[in-house]
């Protein structure tokens, strides 16, 4: 997060009108507030090698504001495993952005059905690249995948359970 010289105490010129515009038109503030909350929560998501015990997690695609439910990735047998903090990114109701994961999911529901009950990691182009029936196994496979594909973590959406099982 770079220092924003146009913001807060550093803004050069402040206008009453801006405050009045916010007051008179709360709709224009709505997305901003939700995005700020999401940003604040993203500060606590960490993917790294830190020894910490985490249970009952939710995973989110913070790039797209989509709320994704998931479970713990922490592997007690491998304390330096990839882990995630809990976070809850509110869905920006007005944001209409392209979601490559959602597009892949929508066009591969039949394929996804076979992973019902599993924890999976989805790449927007390659599809399901990691899958396992329990979180511990998943954490090991997920780590192995990231070792083979450094930096790929940002392109993966992790989902647990049957959220994306086929309804066809």
């Amino acid at each position: 997060m770079p220092l924003n010289l146009e913001k807060g105490a550093f803004a050069k010129k402040k206008r009453w009108q801006k405050l009045l515009d916010r007051f008179n038109s709360p709709a224009q503030v709505q997305d901003e507030v939700l995005q700020h909350h999401a940003k604040a929560k993203r500060h606590i998501i960490q993917f790294g090698k830190v020894k910490i015990e985490v249970t009952g997690l939710r995973y989110a695609s913070d790039k797209h504001g989509a709320l994704i439910k998931g479970k713990s990735l922490f592997n007690p047998r491998q304390p330096k495993a990839v882990y995630a903090y809990a976070l809850d990114v509110p869905r920006a109701p007005r944001a209409k952005r392209r979601d490559p994961w959602r597009e892949w999911i929508d066009t591969h529901r039949g394929e996804l059905a076979q992973y019902a009950g599993s924890t999976i990691a989805i790449h927007p182009i390659e599809g399901v690249v990691v899958h396992a029936e329990d979180a511990l196994e998943f954490a090991e496979k997920y780590n192995a995948y990231l070792q083979k594909h450094p930096g790929a973590g940002k392109q993966l959406l992790v989902s647990s359970g049957s959220m994306y099982t086929s309804d066809e």
């Binding site: 105490a9 038109s25 909350h37």
Partner: protein, 238 residues
Amino acid sequence: MEMPASSLDDLPEVEAEWTTRASEDLWRLLSEAYNRARATGSSDETESDTEDAIVLGPVLGTSREPRVAQCAVVKLDGNLYWQLTVSTPPDEPTPEEVTKISQTLGGQEGLHQFLKEAVTGTKVGSVSYDISFQLRESVWRCRVLPSTLREVDQSALAGLVPEARIEHVGYRAQSGAEGIRDLFVSYDHQESRFLVNAVAADTLELSDGQWLPRASAIARRIAGKLFERSGGSHAAEP
């Protein structure tokens, strides 16, 4: 010795965000307060342009704390997302509409009381404070900036900007003092000032007569650690 907030060149500007569960009673109170303030404004519109967001304020502060505050609340999926912004008033004369809105909401005391009642009995999670303030170089000396290049910088920057000095630094911590997670310090050589921005997770505290005392305490802590009065004899350790 704790550095008094008044010894900063300007009081810190703060954006505080927290979440509570939504309740119909609370949303009704918020709507009523908003509609009362709205009725005093000069806007031709009598209705809010959304049913899911409310903005209370601008609310004017007191002579002790001459600030302007605005509180936005968004309702989504059973939660209320709060954002309280406390900042320096614009240099322009205060418009009559602002004065009326502020009076209708009871000024600083009224909004403060409203917020206290709103969170009473409600679980409030960690509050994210985004705090910024600046200090004049003519009065303050920074202990970390500007600084000479470190060895690793000299190696990396050789042949590029070898005579450079460091004027900006950012720190990240998982659990810093006062819940500080991000801390940025910048030396603005053009304006001869130091800019400080911190993001901290702390509790929500609403005390009488002061907007966000936790944010002020965090700013004092940072200023006390990183800065001292020019001349060096007044290092202000918290």
